[in-house]
C-alpha cells in the first residue's frame, strides 16, 4: 500500500487526483459515474462575476491526440454558482477548488471577496489565462507584472478576511519563460501553481476554407500537449523547488500522471481525458498507486520531483527500497 496523501502547501488531500477546470463542470455530471468526494478535489469550471453565454458554435475540433476548444467561459456567474453549485458540492462532501476568472484585477478581488471564508472552498485556483481588458486584451498570464497584480489582489482579500485557503495560480504555457511568471506569482504570495493551461491553437476547416471554431482560435488540450506540460512542471520545480505544483496537461493514465509527479508535481488534474472516459480520474488514481508501488515508493511524497535527483541519489534511493 502506497500512502497517496498529497500536500499542496499547507493543504493536505487524501489523494493527488483532481479534475481540471473546464473539464468537469461543477461536479454533478461526473457524480453519476463515481463519488466526486473520492477525488483529491473537484476543480470547478472557471467562474466569473456575471453570467456568461460563452461563444458561438462550433466550439470544438478534434485534433491528433487532442482537441481544440473555444467555449468562452460559459457560466452562471458567481452568485448563482455559490447558491446552486458550490452548495451542491458541499452537500456531497466534495473538496472543492474554485477556479476564478476575470478581465480586470478588481474582478478577481471581488470574486475572492465573495468566496472568502466559505466553508466549502478548499482552494482558489486563479485562472489568469484571460485577456486583461485594462491592457488591450493581453493575457494576464503572459505578463509577470499583470500576473503578480492579480495574485496580490486575491492574496490581499483573503488575508484581510483572515482566510488561509491556499491560492493556486494557473499558468499559461504560451510564454517565453514560464519560470519568470512562476516567480512573479510566488513573490505575490501564491501558495502553489497549476501547470498548465491550454496552448493557443487554430484549425482551418478545409471544406469551408475558414477557421473551424466560431471563436477562431482555441485552447489545445489532451495528450498532444503532455510533453509541453511535463517540461513546464520540470522547469518550474527546478527554479522553485519548494513551490507546490498541481500538474496537468494530457494525463490519461497512471503512467502519464507519474511523469508529472516525477517532474515535480505534488498532485495532478485529469482534464480532457474525462471527455473520452468519465471514469478517468478514479482509474488514473488506481493506476498511479499501482505504478508507484511497482517502483517501490511507499508514499507519493517520496516520488515528487524524483526525476530531478542525480543518478547516484536515484540509485541510493532504489537500493534503500530494495533493502527495506
Amino acid at each position: 500500500m502506497t500512502d497517496m496523501t498529497a500536500r499542496l502547501g499547507h493543504l493536505t488531500l487524501p489523494n493527488p487526483v483532481l479534475t481540471a477546470s473546464g473539464c468537469a463542470g461543477y461536479g454533478r455530471e461526473l457524480h453519476q459515474f463515481f463519488d466526486v468526494a473520492d477525488l483529491g478535489a473537484v476543480v470547478t469550471k472557471s467562474i466569473q462575476l456575471r453570467p456568461r453565454s460563452g461563444r458561438a458554435t462550433p466550439r470544438m475540433a478534434e485534433t491528433p491526440s487532442g482537441m481544440l476548444n473555444s467555449i468562452g467561459l460559459q457560466g452562471p456567474g458567481i452568485d448563482s454558482f455559490i447558491e446552486h453549485d458550490l452548495s451542491w458540492l458541499q452537500s456531497v462532501g466534495a473538496r472543492t477548488a474554485v477556479s476564478i476568472a476575470g478581465g480586470r484585477v478588481e474582478e478577481y478581488a471581488e470574486l475572492a471577496r465573495k468566496l472568502a471564508n466559505h466553508p466549502a472552498v478548499s482552494m482558489l485556483e486563479v485562472n489568469i489565462s484571460c485577456p486583461n481588458v485594462e491592457s488591450r486584451g493581453q493575457v494576464f498570464a503572459c505578463d509577470p507584472t499583470a500576473s503578480s497584480h492579480v495574485i496580490t489582489a486575491v492574496r490581499g482579500v483573503l488575508d484581510e478576511a483572515g482566510d488561509r485557503t491556499p491560492i493556486l495560480a494557473k499558468l499559461s504555457p504560451d510564454v517565453t519563460d514560464i519560470t519568470e511568471i512562476a516567480r512573479a506569482c510566488a513573490d505575490a504570495g501564491t501558495n502553489g501553481l497549476s501547470l498548465i493551461n491550454t496552448l493557443l491553437g487554430l484549425v482551418i476547416d478545409t471544406d469551408s476554407m475558414a477557421p473551424a471554431l466560431g471563436g477562431v482560435t482555441g485552447g489545445l488540450s489532451g495528450p498532444a500537449i503532455r510533453p509541453v506540460a511535463v517540461r513546464c512542471v520540470w522547469q518550474v520545480h527546478r527554479a522553485l523547488p519548494t513551490m507546490p505544483i498541481l500538474g496537468m496537461g494530457g494525463i490519461r493514465s497512471g503512467l502519464d500522471a507519474l511523469q508529472f509527479v516525477l517532474a515535480g508535481a505534488s498532485a495532478i488534474s485529469v482534464g480532457t481525458a474525462v471527455f473520452g472516459d468519465p471514469d478517468a480520474p478514479m482509474r488514473v488514481l488506481g493506476e498511479l498507486e499501482d505504478e508507484l508501488g511497482a517502483r517501490g515508493f511507499s508514499s507519493l511524497a517520496d516520488a515528487v520531483g524524483f526525476a530531478h535527483l542525480s543518478e547516484d541519489a536515484r540509485a541510493r534511493r532504489r537500493k534503500k527500497v530494495v533493502n527495506a
Partner: protein, 301 residues
C-alpha cells in the same frame, strides 16, 4: 432521467444497411434504461488511439427481455476516421459505451379526444430513434405515419422496419432513386393534414391534434418545425450536434434555446437535449451569438 452506465459491450451482430452499419451490442445496463430518443457515446480507435473523443449515436433499439437480453442497437455512417474505424469492427469484439444519454422523446398524454396521432420524419439515419418511438406511440394507441428521406436510396434507413411497424410510410429522395423525388418537407404538410383528419380507428375529423417528431440534419429539423408551426401543432426534434463528451461537462454542443421564462440561453444538446421542442430552438441563430442571450452582454470585455 436514467443514470448513464459505462460498459464494455461485446458486439453481438453487425449488419450493413445501404451506406450504414447497424450494430447490436451486449450492454445490459444501457439497455435497461433505454427510452426512444436516448443516445449512446462510443469510444473509437482502441486503447492507444489518438482519437480521444467519443462518437455519439441515437439508439435504434434495446432489448431487455426476449432472446437477445440486454442488447442495444445503433446505426453508424462512416464519415471520418473514427466512424471508419467503428464500421470495421466485427462480431465478438468489444466496444466501450456510455449510455443511455440525453433526454428521450416525450410521449403525448392521451387527450380527452383520444390518443394523439403522430407524424415521424427521419432524414437519413436520423430515422433510427424514430422506429422505437413509433412502436411506443402505437402501443399507447396513437395513429402513426412515417416519412423517411435521404439524398439517395442507399442513404435511406429503416424503410422496411417502418413499413412493418406502421401502415403509412412515405419515402423521398433528393435524386429520385427511391420513393418520391424531393424532400421530406414536401410530403409533410399533406401527411399532417391527412393524419389530423384521421382518428386511430378511422373515425372522422375532430380527434386530437397531431404531433410531429423529427430527427435529421439541422436544416431539415428547422423546416419541419416551420411546417408544424404553420399547422399550429407541436414538433419535437432530436438534433445531431457534434459533442465532445456527451455527458454535459464540455459545453461544446450548445444551441440557442428559449426557456420557460422566455429568456434564451445556450443549452447543451447532450443533457438538455438532444430532443427539443422545435419552436424553442432559435434555428436562425445557430452558429451565432445573439445579443439577447443570457450572459451575451458579458462577452464583450
Amino acid at each position: 432521467m436514467s443514470k448513464p452506465c459505462h460498459e464494455m459491450g461485446e458486439i453481438f451482430a453487425v449488419r450493413r444497411v445501404g451506406a450504414y452499419t447497424e450494430f447490436t451490442v451486449i450492454a445490459p445496463g444501457i439497455a435497461t434504461g433505454f427510452r426512444p430518443g436516448h443516445f449512446v457515446a462510443v469510444a473509437v480507435g482502441g486503447p492507444d488511439t489518438g482519437m480521444i473523443l467519443r462518437r455519439s449515436f441515437a439508439l435504434y433499439g434495446a432489448n431487455t427481455t426476449e432472446g437477445y437480453a440486454g442488447t442495444v442497437q445503433f446505426v453508424v455512417a462512416a464519415q471520418g476516421p473514427g466512424t471508419r474505424w467503428l464500421v470495421q469492427r466485427t462480431v465478438g469484439e468489444k466496444l466501450d459505451l456510455v449510455g443511455p444519454l440525453g433526454n428521450p422523446f416525450s410521449l403525448p398524454a392521451v387527450s380527452d379526444s383520444g390518443p394523439v396521432p403522430a407524424v415521424l420524419v427521419g432524414g437519413g439515419y436520423g430515422a433510427a430513434p424514430l422506429l422505437p418511438l413509433a412502436d411506443a406511440l402505437q402501443k399507447q394507441g396513437s395513429h402513426v405515419e412515417i416519412i423517411l428521406g435521404a439524398a439517395s436510396a442507399d442513404r435511406l434507413f429503416g424503410e422496411l422496419a417502418a413499413k412493418r411497424l406502421v401502415g403509412q410510410v412515405t419515402v423521398t429522395t433528393d435524386d429520385g432513386s427511391a420513393g418520391q423525388q424531393g424532400w421530406v418537407t414536401d410530403a409533410l404538410a399533406a401527411t399532417i393534414e391527412r393524419v389530423g383528419a384521421t382518428a386511430p380507428d378511422g373515425a372522422r375529423a375532430g380527434g386530437a391534434r397531431p404531433i410531429v417528431y423529427a430527427c435529421g440534419p439541422m436544416g431539415m429539423l428547422r423546416a419541419v418545425g416551420d411546417i408544424a408551426r404553420a399547422h399550429g401543432i407541436r414538433a419535437q426534434v432530436s438534433v445531431e450536434e457534434a459533442m465532445a463528451c456527451g455527458i454535459g461537462v464540455c459545453m461544446t454542443c450548445v444551441l440557442p434555446v428559449v426557456g420557460d421564462d422566455g429568456k434564451s440561453r445556450f443549452l447543451r444538446s447532450c443533457v438538455d437535449g438532444p430532443t427539443f421542442d422545435a419552436e424553442r430552438v432559435r434555428w436562425a441563430d445557430v452558429g451565432a451569438l445573439p445579443a439577447d442571450l443570457v450572459g451575451a452582454d458579458a462577452m464583450g470585455h
